[in-house]
């Protein structure tokens, strides 16, 4: 099987042209995390652990939902089938279709950091955690987009994801249930926030390794599921 950068860049360029003509559709997913970051900067707090909230929001909303919208639209308009029946390989299409949403998410994460005026603790580990989160939420976005029949349906299918992953801690506090609380601690967003606090308190690899491992497992699992769901979309039942 050959890999063609030309084909991947053709898909990316098409997505850029398409998105420019439909930019308003993703504005809310971009402005929500940036708005939250702006609110944080006004609070005057320099507590880096607070940075986890807009970043998680950027990853969940911008990453997953932009990706879900892109995939669902391809499916709804029957253009995904045309791509799948072209010589572009599965990997080329997946990479091409994920590039734009990944880029937008990274820009929103960077934007959130700058707007919130907070110092990023442990830049190296922080970058690794961002990359793992990106794989997790772009994969989730791909899955949501492919299982939804229409773009509208992505909001319904993706809403539980948004609530659970973004407001995990809040749900845990509200329910006051030991089992639920334990499950929530294994969410990648919770690992991300916890690791961020540890890094801020000058913790190192040994203190955050289980959080990193948890995020790595989430990244691998979600990527595998996305590949399986994507593979199935080539065929009719």
């Amino acid at each position: 099987m050959t890999f063609s950068i030309r084909r991947v860049s053709a898909i990316v360029r098409k997505d850029v042209k398409d998105l420019i003509k439909n930019a308003y559709a993703i504005l809310i997913t971009i402005f929500l995390p940036l708005g939250l970051a702006a609110m944080l900067s006004r609070s005057g707090s320099d507590d880096a652990s607070l940075l986890g909230t807009p970043i998680n929001l950027a990853l969940v909303i911008t990453g997953a939902f932009v990706q879900a919208t892109i995939m669902a639209e391809e499916k709804e308009k029957n253009t995904l089938r045309a791509l799948l029946l072209s010589p572009a390989t599965r990997m080329e299409i997946m990479l091409g279709k994920s590039f734009l949403s990944s880029l937008i998410t990274i820009l929103v994460v960077i934007g959130s950091i700058f707007i919130s005026k907070m110092q990023v603790p442990g830049l190296f580990y922080f970058t690794i955690m961002i990359l793992l989160s990106l794989i997790i939420f772009i994969s989730f976005g791909t899955i949501i987009g492919l299982v939804s029949r229409t773009v509208m349906e992505t909001s319904i299918v993706g809403l539980p994801l948004l609530v659970i992953f973004t407001y995990g801690s809040l749900i845990s506090t509200m329910l006051d249930n030991a089992v639920v609380s334990t499950i929530i601690t294994y969410l990648p967003t919770e690992s991300f926030s916890s690791a961020l606090i540890i890094l801020e308190q000058n913790g190192g690899f040994s203190e955050i390794k289980w959080h990193l491992l948890n995020m790595l497992i989430w990244a691998i699992s979600s990527l595998i599921i996305a590949v399986i769901v994507y593979g199935k979309s080539r065929f009719d039942k």
Partner: protein, 282 residues
């Protein structure tokens, strides 16, 4: 002769319902093969199986001499072109931008876009946004997309269903030209005139089974009633059997200067289909 498509005892079932039942046929290299049948007869299912979008339940399906599952490889997909009812376009992009993407995916020079758009009379709409095109124009754009890379084997599922007679004629001419340059075409249609004009061989499909398969000429001869219709100068119409007596009668009418027109009484493909299945193609 090498067969581009070979289907043997193929069955496709959806649960307990069988959509295609023991289908047998082959398509020779360079021919236009028609799959003619009414809606719901299994034509689209057949195209989907032949393009590996759908798996058959049993039997054998070979394309380019290998199992149809091999069509999932990039190198094989480059050899085929597909136009089906589920071929979508990017609505917000222009005709050119849509086709440019597929030129790059198929490694085709973008100069080819103008060439094919010219053939289907769409060159003037090159910069039009797809959402502003009519249904027929969109259908022509998807056809152009399927033709961009000059495929060896082209699958067409109702390619002219949304077109007006003029554009239909233009598409037919393009398809013939493509076929003359070596492309094998598998055409699924319920349009008997289209099938008659384009296809070298035809399979009639009814309730998932091929009920007849031959070239249009043989089919008409086989299902015709061997009579000849004469119209005489006095306005009367006479039907004569094709035998020695009939030949003598015709000779007599000609000698007497009474004959105005003469036509063999061949059935249309639609009439043959009704004879075979008891239902019409529409």
């Amino acid at each position: 002769m090498k067969h581009e498509i070979e289907v043997r005892q193929m069955v496709k079932s959806f649960g307990k319902k069988s959509a295609l039942n023991g289908v047998d046929f082959h398509v020779q290299k360079g021919e236009i093969f028609g799959f003619l049948g009414p809606s719901g007869s299994g034509k689209t299912t057949m195209v989907k199986i032949l393009t590996s979008q759908l798996q058959h339940t049993s039997g054998s399906v070979q394309v380019f001499g290998t199992d149809v599952s091999k069509l999932r490889d990039s190198s094989q997909l480059k050899r085929i072109g597909i136009l089906t009812d589920n071929s979508g376009l990017y609505d917000r992009l222009t005709v050119y931008e849509n086709l440019e993407l597929f030129c790059k995916l198929y490694d085709v020079d973008v100069k080819r876009i103008d060439e094919v758009l010219e053939e289907v009379n769409l060159i003037q709409d090159k910069k039009t946004v797809v959402s502003k095109l009519s249904k027929g124009m969109k259908q022509r754009v998807t056809l152009v997309r399927a033709l961009l890379h000059k495929p060896e084997l082209l699958f067409l599922d109702e390619p002219t269903s949304a077109l007006d007679p003029t554009n239909k004629q233009q598409i037919h001419a393009s398809l013939r030209k493509l076929n003359e340059s070596g492309t094998t075409i598998f055409l699924s249609t319920h349009d008997m005139q289209e099938a008659e004009y384009l296809c070298q061989r035809l399979a009639f499909l009814d309730h998932g089974k091929i009920v007849e398969l031959d070239n249009p000429h043989n089919l008409r001869s086989k299902y015709g009633d061997s009579t000849i219709n004469l119209v005489l100068r006095n306005g009367s119409r006479i039907q004569i059997k094709q035998n020695e007596n009939g030949a003598q009668s015709i000779a007599q009418y000609i000698t007497n200067g009474e004959l105005m027109s003469i036509h063999s009484n061949e059935p249309t493909l639609g009439e043959i289909f009704i004879q075979l299945t008891g239902r019409s193609l529409q």
